[in-house]
Symmetry: C2
Subunit: 199 residues, 2 copies
């Protein structure tokens, strides 16, 4: 993420964001404090602050960083796969990989809960990114239907609603200590979900 031909400012900015995403993921976007982040990257508060000009900008930058990383890990690697169904299956696997790579949590889950009542640019970005991701999944399912890999009467939106729910549920089950540490319940349910609509 930190390229050699970047300017100094751009480099440190990226290094800050890398740490910031980790911190925001393991706590939350609001608990990500400029002071503690400055300590974590060994900078002064004001030195770090001048990169972002406001806390809201910092949060937006963290989300954009997460968004880029998410695409890199989850979405982009599957774009070449010709079969929509295989693409769907693989992208779900990558999705879990993203989750695992992020200290076993997902910043979008916490951010969407945290900002549901807090209007502003951060709220809008989270909602936007989430909507785009869901749209991607729906489009992939629809493509699988069009390619006749899935039954023609499959409801793509309903499918994705259930799929996304299972993702949320897996995180919640892990938290409450109800197994699924290795996403076995998620995988089982996903397989069942796909089997039901397979043609």
């Amino acid at each position: 993420m930190v390229e050699i031909f970047m300017s100094k400012a751009k480099k440190t900015r990226q290094q800050i964001l890398e740490v910031a995403l980790k911190m925001a993921t393991s706590t939350s976007l609001n608990d990500l404090t400029i002071g503690s982040l400055a300590v974590a990257v060994d900078m002064s508060k004001s030195g770090l602050f001048s990169h972002f000009k406001s806390k809201e900008n910092l949060q937006l930058a963290v989300l954009q960083y997460a968004h880029d990383l998410f695409r890199e890990i989850v979405t982009i690697p599957v774009l070449e796969i010709p079969s929509p169904l295989e693409r769907l299956i693989q992208v779900c696997d990558n999705w879990l990989g993203w989750y695992e790579s992020q200290a076993k949590t997902c910043i979008y889950i916490s951010a969407s809960v945290e900002f549901d009542d807090q209007p502003g640019l951060v709220h809008d970005k989270v909602a936007d990114d989430l909507a785009k991701w869901l749209s991607f999944l729906i489009a992939t399912v629809q493509a699988a239907i069009d390619e006749k890999e899935l039954k023609p009467d499959t409801d793509a939106k309903q499918f994705v609603y259930e799929l996304y729910s299972l993702y949320l549920g897996s995180q919640s089950m892990i938290w409450v200590g109800f197994e699924d540490t290795s996403h076995n319940r998620f995988k089982l349910a996903l397989t069942s979900l796909i089997t039901r609509v397979r043609s």
Copy 2:
């Protein structure tokens, strides 16, 4: 919730908690500020504070209040229903009723996300209450299996994992603007889930 034979202290305490739950539900347990709560119930900050002695105690009291209310609305009314399957269906309906009665959110969802990384008594209580609720659901499903209303090879835990996931998903879909405002996707998925394991 406020009985006439209560002492003055107990009465105001309950009145505070009623407002506090509403505020904590629409924002979060951490954003529930003693100052703003005091304004909302028309008391002084210190007057209110002395009821709880610490913010953590206030949060615990709010959760206990929510817990009692949840039981009253969701759990208790179904205990008399003889058929486990009908009990399950009805309790899910009440569950949605609880959700609707709470300004279209659920404090347990936000609290579990908010305190997943924040050890302490609040974390433990949320995890405990959630685990108990899941156990109740699992027991009900198991009872339906034992009564032969559901197929004997039904995996009760997997069933509840999927059920709880759908609940989480419905809230998330509403938030992101992907329909399900009246829980139609939830109800559809729930019906499908039950149909699959019905004997």
